[in-house]
């Protein structure tokens, strides 16, 4: 049986049918076809694939080095290298197989107008949804300036909302004081869903050269090291989303079925996999199998029933004397 046949893993997200709750994260899988080089990898094992962040014009991205391993994770500073929205829509999207999974565009910009323009280009395309990258930490004067400020975030969401009828997912930054306040404003501005979280800002230094290792000086930290932060942020955003029925892709350091289950229980309707794919390109079917096994064992008929099932009060002590 392939993952696609396993109905208990199938779930709905912003009106889209995801065959499994797994989502491959933007920036980790290029424009959707890169990992299919690996024998045994299939886009059918995930509910959706978020494409590389795309801007209006092509961007070269940052100077090397762009990646560096750190304990429990890695730093990256790619800098939104992409061929521009028009090229993605005209040349890349026609090569994707939409039978295999849902493809979600990820859009970025330096101005509110640029976000709207990119959204308009993708609105008239085959993508299933649009993710707004208001939180890319690696572009100067770019996303993070919007992502740190709830009002600016809301302005971007509003502008994109006017530009498209496709489902809108807003990717929130953990590098802000009150992520719940930001989520609240983005809901008012018309987002249909959230991705929580983007990377945490970090740095690495070469002590011999006394220089930053990354060409961009700073980068985004991902991987298992950030999982507890991501889990909390997901749960905080879930409190805001629950009354509105707004779904969340929980993401940040997920590297096993247990990690994925924690995010689902915390309130995520789907879970993102990124850095763990670099560790094990064939990890997705393993996570799917682990989630299915858990659902079986707990007699839960479908994954959506697990979402937000975190106990509201602490359980009684196991031993009462």
């Amino acid at each position: 049986m392939t993952t696609k046949d396993d109905k208990m893993l199938s779930t709905e997200f912003c009106g889209m049918r995801f065959d499994t709750p797994l989502v491959l994260l933007s920036g980790c899988v290029g424009f959707g076809e890169e990992y299919t080089r690996v024998e045994g990898f299939s886009n059918r094992d995930v509910g959706a694939v978020c494409l590389k962040g795309t801007t209006l014009e092509a961007r070269l991205g940052n100077a090397p080095h762009r990646v560096y391993e750190t304990p429990g994770g890695m730093l990256n500073a790619i800098g939104l290298q992409n061929p521009g929205a028009r090229y993605v829509v005209d040349t890349i999207l026609p090569t994707l197989d939409f039978e295999e999974t849902r493809f979600i565009a990820n859009i970025a910009g330096s101005t509110v107008e640029e976000y709207a323009e990119v959204a308009r280009i993708f609105d008239d395309s085959s993508v299933d949804a649009i993710e707004i990258n208001i939180s890319c930490p690696n572009v100067k004067a770019g996303g993070v300036a919007f992502g740190n400020d709830p009002e600016m975030s809301a302005r971007v969401v509003e502008a994109v909302r006017r530009a498209t009828t496709k489902p809108l997912i807003t990717k929130l930054s953990p590098n802000q004081t009150d992520i719940a306040a930001s989520a609240s404003r983005c809901i008012e501005a018309g987002t249909d869903g959230f991705a929580v979280i983007n990377t945490l800002m970090g740095m690495a230094i070469d002590i011999e050269q006394r220089a930053p290792i990354l060409g961009n000086r700073q980068g985004g930290l991902s991987g298992p090291a950030i999982k507890p932060v991501a889990l909390l942020k997901t749960h905080q955003v879930y409190q805001v989303c629950r009354p509105h029925g707004i779904p969340i892709i929980g993401q940040g350091g997920i590297a096993s079925a247990q990690d994925a289950l924690e995010f689902l229980i915390a309130g995520a309707s789907a879970v993102g996999v990124g850095t763990a794919l670099f560790y094990d390109p064939l990890i997705c079917p393993k996570i799917n199998a682990g989630i299915a096994e858990y659902l079986d064992r707990h007699k839960i008929p479908e994954v959506s029933q697990l979402v937000g099932s975190l106990a509201t009060a602490p359980p009684a002590p196991a031993c009462g004397n």
Binding site: G27, C28, V29, G30, E33, E34, Y35, T36, R37, V38, E39, G40, K52, L60, G61, A63, P64, H65, R66, V67, Y68, E69, M74, N76, I78, Q81, T95, D97, T275, L277, F278, Y279, D280, P281, L282
Partner: protein, 289 residues
């Protein structure tokens, strides 16, 4: 629609068949990886998990690959934490190995006098390339190697004369000599039989001793540290010979997904950032330098 790139890279839990350790923190690792061995070519590499505590894979170029026995052989230098942990792995353990990856060297069949230049951990792909040329036949290659740590083999005086190479520079790699392929060694460390200088010195001497018709037979294939490749690209330009260089950069996914390993190259439409993993690791020297 056809997708020829699909299913071209294999993930194998490769058993360590041998792990030999040499001076200068150099190590030769032999892995049982039949899927990778069947498809590897000169210049391609594997992306492997050094240790569970450092799960981000490290790219290591392939030195030899045997389709029949299903073995791949790697030579690496322990440099950072990951490769130091790799050096501690023992025979019989398994290493998660992804490969073969990358566009390797494209042998120019018109140029029968190839010059292969390897510096440090850039040596292994040159062994692979030399073996491939030996298998194909019809080539008269010269292999130049440079190292600032002792070579991971016993340097032996060559039985093959090479015009243009200074007297006394006779040290060669025994394996290549046994294959009847000329090689010469360089180091600033004063090793016996080795040229005390750079690989580019010997390359110039060799090219200087040729006439124009002979030079038209030369193509340079090189792998090694960036400054060495830049100098080799300069020599190639001066002598009007073609040159392919194998590049390296910090890498995350290794399959083209993250754009973490890019380098800047010049294309017809201007500067571009190309991924070392799947656009390279081998590029035309003119596009890089």
């Amino acid at each position: 629609m056809t997708k020829p790139h699909r299913n071209t890279i294999f993930l194998e839990e490769a058993k360590i068949l041998a792990h030999e350790h040499y001076a200068g923190d150099q190590h030769v690792l032999r892995l049982a990886a039949p899927g990778i061995a069947a498809k590897a070519g000169p210049g391609s590499f594997v992306h492997l998990t050094c240790d569970a505590s450092r799960p981000l894979r490290r790219p290591i170029s392939i030195m030899r690959s045997d389709r029949e026995s299903g073995e791949v052989q790697l030579l690496y230098k322990a440099f950072g934490k990951g490769t130091h942990l790799l050096a501690e792995r023992r025979v019989g353990e398994r290493i998660s190995t992804l490969g073969p990856i990358g566009n390797g060297f494209t042998v120019d069949r018109e140029r029968k006098r190839p010059l292969l230049i390897g510096g440090g951990v850039g040596i292994p792909p040159m062994i692979f390339l030399a073996e491939e040329m030996r298998r194909t036949g019809g080539y008269e290659p010269l292999v130049l190697m440079g190292s600032e740590v002792p070579f991971p083999f016993r340097v032996r005086p060559s039985q093959i004369l090479v015009p243009g190479i200074p007297d006394g520079v006779t040290g060669a790699m025994p394996l290549l000599d046994d294959w009847d392929i000329a090689s010469r060694l360089c180091s600033l460390q004063g090793y016996a039989g080795c040229h005390e200088g750079f690989v580019t010195d010997l390359a110039r001497h060799w090219l200087d001793a040729m006439d124009a018709a002979q030079r038209k037979q030369v193509a340079i294939y090189a792998c090694g540290p960036h400054p060495m490749l830049e100098a080799i690209a300069g020599v190639a330009k001066n002598f009007g010979v073609t040159c392919q260089v194998s590049m390296e950069e910090f890498m995350a996914c290794g399959v083209g997904g993250c754009a973490g390993c890019t380098i800047q190259v010049t294309t017809e439409s201007g500067p571009a950032m190309k991924r070392v993993c799947v656009d390279g690791p081998v590029f035309d020297a003119e596009s890089v330098f």
